[in-house]
Symmetry: C3
């Protein structure tokens, strides 16, 4: 592995390798880079948890972190992403974590740089470390994927999480169903059937709520309490969930929209646990990529 | 102590403990955190000296610093301060330094997080590390508080320094008087009498000038040379100050308004000394909070 | 040397000293500051390569880096550069790297601070580390300056590179010529003759293209393909360049304007090599300045 771009490109074996390394970091394994290595974080869209989660992961591994504020960079002077990446390479960066508004922004870069690229979100495309931390959280809970009932609910169409997760969970043996308003259904994923939220809560082992991506909608949607009643997780619905089933959400949560605010930290919720797990999973990915880069291996 | 929020909550003994540790750092004591600890700086209002002073203090103690640029964070997506703090906690932060425009923004957070919160300014409320560095600077000069004549002069009403300092200095035995335009007097602090600037310079051991907080006024005030003549420290007034008396100002100074520009670095001025002391005092606070947090002590 | 402000103030011997140290860093020399030293980066204009190049250099030398985002600082409250510098000094910075829109912004600071100031660009004035990395790149290629034909081509008037480089290259024995549109000629540099781009490609050992400084023009210039045809490096012109001659550009490149986009990474191009060299040269400068500052030497 040289780059981490989407879940589709990851072999099942590589996924298990990453989850296993993440578990080692969770239980206290310490690895510090013996050489000075530089990781640059380029976020072209606002982010808190992903950006800082990567930063914590990078520092725990002993890397030097360069935070690239896009508002004060030469991108202001019209510089292309390609030239920015070649510049980072020239000044000695080893890897770059990128969030960008364009889907598959990384295509033109792949064969042109010695840097490892870690995709931290490409438009409505993919967000592989989010998928991996979701897998890690599910595995931690159930110790398997095979046969699990997973319902992914909400703004399927604009979510980079929904698509990545549905495919990989199916590949790992889970049974995946979608739920959500018809206008946000994604015709590219027609293999997954839709059910109502009332059905979802009774079926799911894992109820994976999605954030309404207001920032990616051309018109503001109806992100209100009527959404909660029709499509979200109300207090009443949570009561009908199966024993031992869990609630997930990639956050930030629109409280009172996707989920009743009192449920965000309820016993079933793994929302903050997901964030904690994100650090371990990102450590695993960075460690794997930069170690391989060092050994000269290329995907 | 788990949090540092305002001066009122600090026991006199704790204040002396902080000043004593600050003095140890000033005279060269080196303490480096043996474990990796993360401190996040969240500044919702512009700042130079406070932000960088904290950053230098954090690094001198060997902490990992995470600078949270509020303009590029998920607060842009409408995330609440509560959820931001819980996120920082989940990804492994140990303490958070916050400056925020709302008074007592920290109230809803206190019993909800394992993080130590250090208030670096809440609206027109408090700014405890500024008070502590002011105390440290006074103690360095006079080696006592009891019986000292302290005049706090200027924009009393909008200052988070005035209120904190007046109360704590009185508690420590100093005699505190206010000076300033009647429209900026603060009825919540009616126990402290007002005197003119002409009286102030003749009485004060410590003349503590305040910054005119233009950014917190609903209407722009008369921050001009006529202010200097009526309420500020002119060259002429400085000449009438008592031997060994000192001038303080939390900075940034509006030169030619609160004080004649030539006096900013005059012999009596401790303005840049205050900034230097700020680093030692913040090291003392961070060291105390993070050490206690480690021992599981809670206020 | 206490400060690094422009090339004019550097003795020829000091230039050779810097280039020699840069070569040592390029070939793997490791120097880590035994004490904790703080370097602040103050960029008042957008920058990618210069800012990050300095940051990598600072970290490779083991310094603590403080990145000062001017948009969130007290400069927003009207604080002067002088007071900002004095603040950085008070809180313990050892050196400050500044890019600023005003020519010779540093004049009022020089005798007022114990900090080392490194000029990373002053308006249309100077950018000494860019000149030094250009010299380093030329020396690496030709192992001499004497007798080399150097053509500096493009927006001479608004470039801080053109003036610095022309003078210092002449001092070191090179033969320097200019090329570019008549409206961007610089009457302050009348000693250097102008030639056409067609002549330039046939004469130059070093063809140094300049970025069109759109951001410094009061009216937008004709930065288009017609510029490329008249004044830029086309594919056709590159073919007429002398054997072993090289192409340089300080970047970011306006692709298709100053140079045909396919030539940016051609065999003759040293554009990304210049960026790599920038790190070594900046390490050399910082190492020299901070070491001397330590020994109490002052220019």
């Amino acid at each position: 592995m040289k780059h981490l771009l989407d879940m589709t490109s990851l072999e099942t074996e590589e996924i298990h390798e990453i989850l296993q390394r993440a578990e080692q970091f969770r239980t206290g394994k310490v690895i510090k880079s013996p050489e000075m290595k530089f990781v640059a974080n380029l976020f072209f869209e606002p982010s808190t948890r992903t950006r800082f989660s990567f930063e914590v992961a990078e520092r725990r591994l002993g890397y030097e972190v360069m935070n690239f504020e896009t508002s004060s960079s030469s991108l202001q002077k019209g510089e292309s992403l390609y030239d920015t990446i070649k510049t980072l390479e020239a000044i000695g960066a080893n890897a770059v974590v990128i969030r960008h508004q364009d889907e598959r922004y990384f295509e033109p870069l792949l064969n042109e740089t010695s840097l490892s690229i870690i995709n931290a979100g490409d438009g409505c495309g993919h967000h592989p470390t989010q998928s991996l931390l979701d897998l890690f959280t599910i595995q931690q809970e159930f110790n398997k994927f095979k046969g699990l009932e997973v319902v992914i609910a909400g703004d399927i169409r604009h979510s980079r999480v929904a698509r990545s997760n549905a495919s990989v969970l199916k590949r790992l043996g889970a049974h995946v169903t979608f739920s959500g308003p018809s206008e946000w259904q994604d015709e590219r994923m027609s293999e997954f059937p839709y059910i109502t939220m009332d059905e979802a809560v009774e079926r799911a082992d894992v109820l994976m709520l999605l954030r309404i991506q207001n920032e990616r909608h051309s018109t503001k949607c109806n992100a209100s309490s009527s959404y909660l009643e029709s499509y979200g997780l109300t207090i009443e619905r949570e009561k009908r969930m199966r024993a031992n089933s869990i609630i997930m959400h990639p956050a930030p949560v629109n409280r009172g929209v996707e989920i009743d605010t009192t449920l965000v930290e309820c016993e079933r919720s793994r929302i903050f646990k997901q964030m904690e797990n994100g650090v371990y999973v990102r450590m695993a990915c960075l460690n794997l990529l930069l170690q391989n880069a060092q050994e000269g291996m290329v995907v």
